[in-house]
Amino acid sequence: MARFIVRRLLYAIVTLWVIITLTFVLMHSIPGQPFNNVDKMTPTILAHLNYTYGLDKPTYQQYLIYLNNILHGNLGTSFRYEDRTVNSIIGTGFPVSATLGFEALIFSVIIGLALGVYAALKHNTWADYTAITIAVLGVSVPNIVLGPLLSYYVGVKLGWLPTGEWGGFEYTILPSITLGMTSLAFMARLMRTSMLEVLGMDYIKTAKAKGLSNREIVWRHLFRNSLLPIVTILGPLVVNIITGSIVVEETFAIPGLGSSFVESITDKDYTVIMGTTIFYSALYILSLLLVDICYGFVDPRIRLAGGRD
């Protein structure tokens, strides 16, 4: 297991380096410059700014400086917000996104799994069909539609919850639901399929033949085994939820990393775009790694074989 983790880590580092390089190259091959107020910029001001930010140096030098800074954990300074480092932008934005993402994840996993389990146990009854309909709706209605709908109907028309902004727990409910809905639906469908598959397995009959109650069977045999495919998709799901939060943060005016990422893209804020991309990538790679390790813990066949490839 340790060897497996070390190997995975090495891959992760190489992947990250490739991403850093690609992002750098891409950023520098886009025409236009990253400063504000471009409509008013005079050539003299531009020259000054390029000098201050080192953009007048040859590209390879800029690249080496950038790599060296990253190695020292320094992602640079924002072009737009000159007083802010990318590290501090991520530092203030990410906890918010993570809170939102975490809540959405909890929501989608708990409700999604419950819905999936319920549908599978009530297979081919109207309860099953209802659950599936919810799941299909959840998958087919995108965040960008669901968010404004919830905000308007629940927030403005009914006035039950805040329509947006970021305050206490009540502010997180609508965005979490919006953000979690797709995953929830996906989760429910996957769990249902997986449960039905496991339900048909002989070892469920064996368990039943032992005289275990339905509850015992569901919890000890059915649930855990049905979770296996779910764990596999958890990594992509986490990332999905984080990147999905870009739209949701925008819709609900949440000061997370997603909204600053979008802003940096519109502003062509080099360092913030690169820093955030690298951060997201690292997160993605890390979550895949964690999922692999988790999978090992859930499935003994993998744990003992020393990881899968």
């Binding site: 236009g32 005079t42 003299t44 905000s151 902004e165 005016a253 000061p255 802003e263």
Partner: protein
């Protein structure tokens, strides 16, 4: 989504002070507080809740270079002057009086007893320090180019030594005669200079404090002092900030608001939701999508701002057909004449924007001896929605240029990737198709790339906008002089250049205005650009929020006289 608006304050020369209320389309919808008698009753809580689509970049006035930051900073600072509630007239602020030399080049300001938010007096030296700091940081230093020696600092090679830079800074014509007297030396009489002193780059900065804070200056409530109606009390970067009333403000007795809360809300439909749920008192610059819902309610207002949007036809395009076509005056004219500006404004913008009738938008002052603003004085110079003439001009032009109508189908329209820009491109090309029978294809690129290509002259047809830097026709006309970095079509007319040069040195305001009017006529007749609309801004504001002054250039609004009515 960043708002776009002219970047500095409107200003009238001292002489214009007499002409009160001239063209002030941007005055406060909530009406003035200063009227006696029927003054509305104040509500118990004087807190205003506002939304902005992006964060402040910092509260250091010397780094501010975009609208939201500028608007925020101007609520907490006071310059030598401050724009009055009519939205255009500079009024006494930190300066209680001033003298202008007879050649119009020396300004002597006398400061009142004003204090910084942390207690010490605001001194003339603070202005010297602040203005020179502006020049040396050079974010917006060019706005000071009428001050003696300013250009030398701004145009200094970035690699120049510190000593060299210091020497240039020392030579700039800004001087504290004593604590209470500031003297400024200009290179030419500048009619709008007084108005500029109300603008953010001209705010004071206190050396001891700024030096002590270093890089942290203006990055939090603890590292900022200000001399305006409010002061920063809290800033959660990326999410919100708040101002509280500044008890040390010299005019504090007139300030009613005790608190202003700002939340960053990028998505306008969310902003509107917050407004509808009473979480916000105002939404500035509504999109066309949202105006219809509020139009006709007491909350809805339309303002004019000093900005003009126009199409550019590039005779220097690398596309040979486009270059050939737009070298021809008749073809350029045909393109301009066939735009139906009223339809354009109504279908795309729907926010109070008006069909453009010239280069200089309304409210910009003209000849002080004549009635009306520059626009009224110079009349309508744009031929609008005339397909018949356009068609004839096109035929003539094609013959002269040796082109066929089908050749023109290879011409491209370069535009932004925002939705408004997209719709705009669709509509304008459709108008050309209908009126002229040419099919112009649309190239969509991100905004910064569009601007870049435009400034480099890599386009056939493009849309451009310009907001006034100061309340004077020169801010628009100057752009089209030979060699100006904003002159995208590389327009060059010696006669035009001469008129501008003459106006710049003209001590007689009346003659100066006439020269600028003549230049505008000349430039528009050449037809390399065709004005399309004067920008308007739609605002929704709770009827209880009153006394806000909306400004046609520079900051969006001023809350100094604002209050919450019962």
């Amino acid at each position: 989504m960043k708002k776009w608006k002219p970047l500095s304050l409107a200003a009238f020369v001292a002489a214009v002070l007499a002409l009160t209320g001239c063209g002030s389309t941007a005055s406060s919808p909530g009406s003035s507080t200063n009227g006696a008698g029927s003054q509305p009753k104040l509500a118990a809580a004087q807190t205003v809740n506002l939304l902005e689509p992006s964060d402040v970049e910092g509260f250091d006035p010397n780094i501010a270079d975009e609208e939201i930051t500028i608007t925020a900073i101007s609520q907490i600072f006071d310059g030598l002057t401050r724009i009055g509630s009519d939205g255009v007239t500079p009024e006494k602020a930190i300066a209680s009086s001033w003298d202008i030399s007879s050649d119009g080049k020396t300004y002597t300001f006398h400061l009142r007893d004003a204090k910084w938010s942390d207690g010490p007096a605001v001194r003339a030296q603070d202005f010297v320090f602040g203005w020179k700091r502006e020049l040396s940081i050079d974010k917006y230093g060019f706005i000071m180019n009428m001050i003696q020696g300013a250009d030398a600092v701004v145009n200094l090679d970035p690699k120049a030594s510190a000593a060299e830079k210091q020497a240039k800074l020392d030579a700039v014509g800004i001087k504290a005669i004593d604590d209470k007297t500031l003297q400024v030396q200009l290179t030419a009489p500048t009619t709008y200079f007084l108005g500029l002193t109300a603008f953010v780059p001209f705010y004071p900065a206190r050396e001891d404090f700024v030096t002590k804070q270093g890089d942290k200056y203006g990055t939090s409530a603890a590292t900022l002092i200000s001399d305006g109606p409010m002061q920063l009390s809290d800033w959660k970067q990326g999410s919100s900030w708040a101002f509280v009333k500044n008890a040390n403000y010299w005019d504090a007795s007139k300030v009613q608001l005790t608190k202003a809360n700002y939340t960053i809300v990028k998505d306008q439909s969310q902003a509107v939701n917050l407004y509808d749920t009473k979480k916000s008192d105002m939404v500035y610059m509504l999109n066309a999508d949202n105006t219809a819902h509020y139009r006709g309610t007491p909350d809805y207002h339309e303002l004019s701002i000093d900005a003009n949007y126009y199409a550019e036809f590039n005779p220097n395009s690398s596309n040979a057909v486009a270059a050939k076509a737009f070298k021809n005056a008749n073809i350029r004219k045909a393109f301009g004449e066939s735009i139906d500006r009223a339809t354009f404004v109504k279908t795309i913008l729907n926010d109070g924007s008006k069909p453009a009738t010239g280069l200089v938008p309304p409210t910009v002052p003209g000849d002080p001896k004549a009635a009306g603003d520059f626009r009224t004085q110079n009349g309508t110079l744009v031929k609008d929605n005339d397909p018949t003439t356009a068609k004839a001009d096109l035929q003539k032009g094609l013959q002269e240029a040796g082109l066929t109508i089908n050749d023109l189908n290879s011409i491209h329209f370069l535009t932004n990737d925002t939705s408004t820009a997209g719709k705009l491109a669709q509509l304008i090309t459709q108008m050309w198709k209908q009126a002229l029978g040419v099919t112009i294809s649309i190239d969509t690129v991100p905004q910064k790339i569009r601007v870049d290509s435009q400034h480099k002259g890599n386009f056939d047809i493009c849309f451009a906008g310009w907001g006034a830097d100061y309340a004077d026709a020169m801010t628009f006309s100057d752009l089209f002089t030979t060699g100006n970095s904003q002159n995208d079509t590389k327009y060059s007319n010696p006669q035009f250049d001469a008129l501008i040069k003459q106006a710049k040195a003209e001590p007689d305001n009346s003659k100066r205005a006439q020269e600028l009017e003549q230049a505008e006529k000349l430039m528009l007749a050449d037809g390399y650009i065709s004005p399309v609309y004067f920008k308007g801004v739609a605002v929704i504001q709770k009827p209880t929020l009153q006394g806000v002054s909306f400004l046609p250039l520079g900051p969006d609004y001023d809350l100094k006289n604002a209050f919450i009515a019962q």
